[in-house]
Amino acid sequence: MSTPAILVDNVTVHYGEVLALDAASLTLDPARICGLVGMNGSGKSTLFKAIMGMIKPDAGTVRINGQSPGRARREGGIGYVPQSEDVDWQFPLSVRDVVMMGRYGHQGFTRRASKADRAAVDEALDRVELGEYAGRQIGQLSGGQKKRAFVARGIAQGATTMLLDEPFAGVDKRSEATITRLLRELASDGCTILISTHDLHALPQLCDEAVLLMHRVLMHGPPEQVLQPENLAMAFGLDVLNRDLPDQDVHARKERTA
C-alpha cells in the first residue's frame, strides 16, 4: 500500500464555541486532483489550515506524504494559492517577485536568489505562459493570470502538494480552461492537488474525485457521483437544486419531479 499524499484522520477543530470541523477524515492518493465542495462556513478553509498546520486540531492527525505538516512545510512540499480577496493586489511586487517567493524555502538567510533560483522562476513562468508579463505589477494581470502567477509560485517552489482556495472565482471561461489544463499537467507530473471551490460546473473536467464537506466529510467519490443533486442537497440544503447546478443535472431533476 502506498503512502497517501494527504491523510486527514478524524480532525476536529473548534473556534471558541463554534465547531468548524467535526471528526473530518480524508485520504488522498498521490497525483490526484480533488475538489473540495461545501458552503461558505462548511470548514473548507479550516481544513486547508489544518493541512498546512496553521491551526492545531483539537483532535485527530494530519499527514502529508507520511510526514507531519511541520516537516512537510520545511521541506517545501506544500504550495498554496490564496483566494483572490486575501491578496493585496496593489502590493508593489512584480509577477517575477511573487514567483521568486516560492524559492525562499530553498535559499539562505537573506534569501538571495542564485542562478538556479532564477532559472526555476523563469521555467515556472513559461510553464504557466506568463513569461512576457514577468515584469508587471501583480495587480495589472487579469483574473486568470493572477491565479496562474500563484500556481507558478508553487511550481517554482517544487511543491508536491498544492492547495488552491477558490481558484475560479472572478476568472473567465477561457482562463478557467487554461488553469484546468495546467493543473491536469501538474497532476500527471505527480503533484497532488486539493481545490476548494463552489463552482460546481468546473468539477467534472478538472477533478479525479470530489469531497462534500459540511463540518464533516459527507461523501468522497467521483465528481459525477458527488454532484448528484440529492448528494449536493446534503451539503448545501435544498435550495441548491434550483441553482448552481450543471444544466443536465437540473434537467434530470425536472424529469424526476415531473
Partner: protein, 288 residues
C-alpha cells in the same frame, strides 16, 4: 553656498543633521513595510507607548532602548488581549492602550526630578543632541537598519502573504514579532530627534510617499530613505534660518513633499495622472 555652510560651523548643528538624517533613514526603511501591512496605527501606538519605558530606564539608569522594547512588548500584548477577549475592536484597543501608556509616561516625567531632560523626549531636542546621544542613536540605528536590510525579503513576504510564509516553513509570528521589535528600536532612535509625538510621522510619511512613486518594493526601499533624509536635512536648514522648532520643521517638510507627490506623481498623483492623460490625448490628436 554661504547659506549651506554657515550652520555647519556650529558643532551642535552638525550633530543635529547627522542624527536626524540617520533616524530619518532607518524610520523610512521601516515605514515601507508599515504602510503596506496597514500598521500605521500600530506605529503610532508603539512609538507613544515606549515613553514610560524610556522614563523608567532613565530613573534606574538602564539603556533607553531596553525600557522602550519592554514597553513596546507590553503595549502590543495589551492591545492583543483587549481585542481578543472583549468586543472592543482593534482600533479602539490600540487607542486605549497607547494613550494610557503615554499618559503614564507623562505622569512619570512629572514626578521625576530633572525634568528638562525628559521633556525633550516628548518634543525632541534636535539642537541639544550630545555626543553620547549621538553614539546611542548611531548604534541602535545601524543595528535596526542592518536587520531590516538583511531580512527585507522575509519581511516583504510576511507583509504580502503570511500564509505562504507559513506554508514554506517560515514563522509569520516570529517575523511579525521581529518587525514589532524593530519598530520599538526605531522609535527610540527617532525619539531623540523629533520626539515621541512626531515619531509616527517619520514612520509613515516616507513609505507612503515612496508607495505613490513606484510599483517595485525594492525601489521603495531606496526612494523612501532618500526622500526622508533630504527632507530632514532641508527641514533643519529651514528651521535654522526661520528660527522655528527643528523637529517639527523636519516633519512638516516631509508632509509637504508627500503633498507634492500626492498631487504630481506621474502614475498615482491626482494631477499628474490627468496631465499624462491630456498629453496622450494631444499626441493622439496630432497623430491623426
Amino acid at each position: 553656498m554661504e547659506l549651506l555652510l554657515e550652520p555647519l560651523s556650529y558643532d551642535f548643528m552638525v550633530r543635529a543633521i547627522v542624527t536626524t538624517a540617520l533616524a530619518a533613514v532607518v524610520c523610512a526603511v521601516l515605514s515601507c513595510w508599515l504602510v503596506l501591512i496597514g500598521w500605521s496605527l500600530m506605529g503610532d501606538a508603539v512609538s507613544h507607548a515606549v515613553l514610560p519605558g524610556v522614563v523608567l530606564a532613565y530613573i534606574v539608569g538602564a539603556p533607553f532602548a531596553l525600557g522602550a522594547l519592554v514597553f513596546a512588548l507590553v503595549a502590543v500584548t495589551l492591545i492583543g488581549v483587549v481585542r481578543n477577549t472583549s468586543r472592543v475592536k482593534e482600533d479602539a484597543a490600540i487607542g486605549i492602550v497607547f494613550s494610557s501608556l503615554f499618559a503614564l509616561g507623562l505622569v512619570l516625567i512629572s514626578v521625576t526630578p530633572s525634568q528638562t531632560d525628559l521633556n525633550h523626549i516628548i518634543f525632541g531636542n534636535l539642537l541639544g543632541v550630545s555626543i553620547p546621544d549621538l553614539i546611542q542613536v548611531l548604534v541602535l540605528g545601524v543595528v535596526a537598519f542592518a536587520i531590516l536590510i538583511l531580512k527585507r525579503r522575509d519581511l516583504t513576504l510576511y507583509a504580502f502573504d503570511p500564509t505562504h510564509a507559513h506554508a514554506i516553513g517560515l514563522s509569520p509570528r516570529r517575523l511579525g514579532a521581529l518587525l514589532l521589535g524593530l519598530l520599538a528600536l526605531t522609535s527610540v532612535v527617532a525619539l531623540q530627534t523629533v520626539g515621541v509625538v512626531l515619531v509616527v510621522a517619520m514612520l509613515i510619511i516616507p513609505g507612503a510617499t515612496a508607495y505613490l512613486l513606484t510599483d517595485r518594493f525594492s525601489r521603495m526601499l531606496v526612494i523612501a530613505p532618500t526622500i526622508s533624509a533630504l527632507c530632514s536635512v532641508a527641514g533643519i536648514y529651514i528651521s535654522y534660518y526661520l528660527d522655528t522648532a527643528s523637529g517639527a520643521m523636519v516633519v512638516l517638510t516631509q508632509g509637504v513633499v508627500f503633498g507634492a507627490v500626492y498631487l504630481f506623481s506621474p502614475r498615482q498623483g491626482l494631477i499628474g495622472t490627468r496631465l499624462a492623460k491630456a498629453r496622450r490625448r494631444k499626441a493622439a490628436a496630432l497623430a491623426v
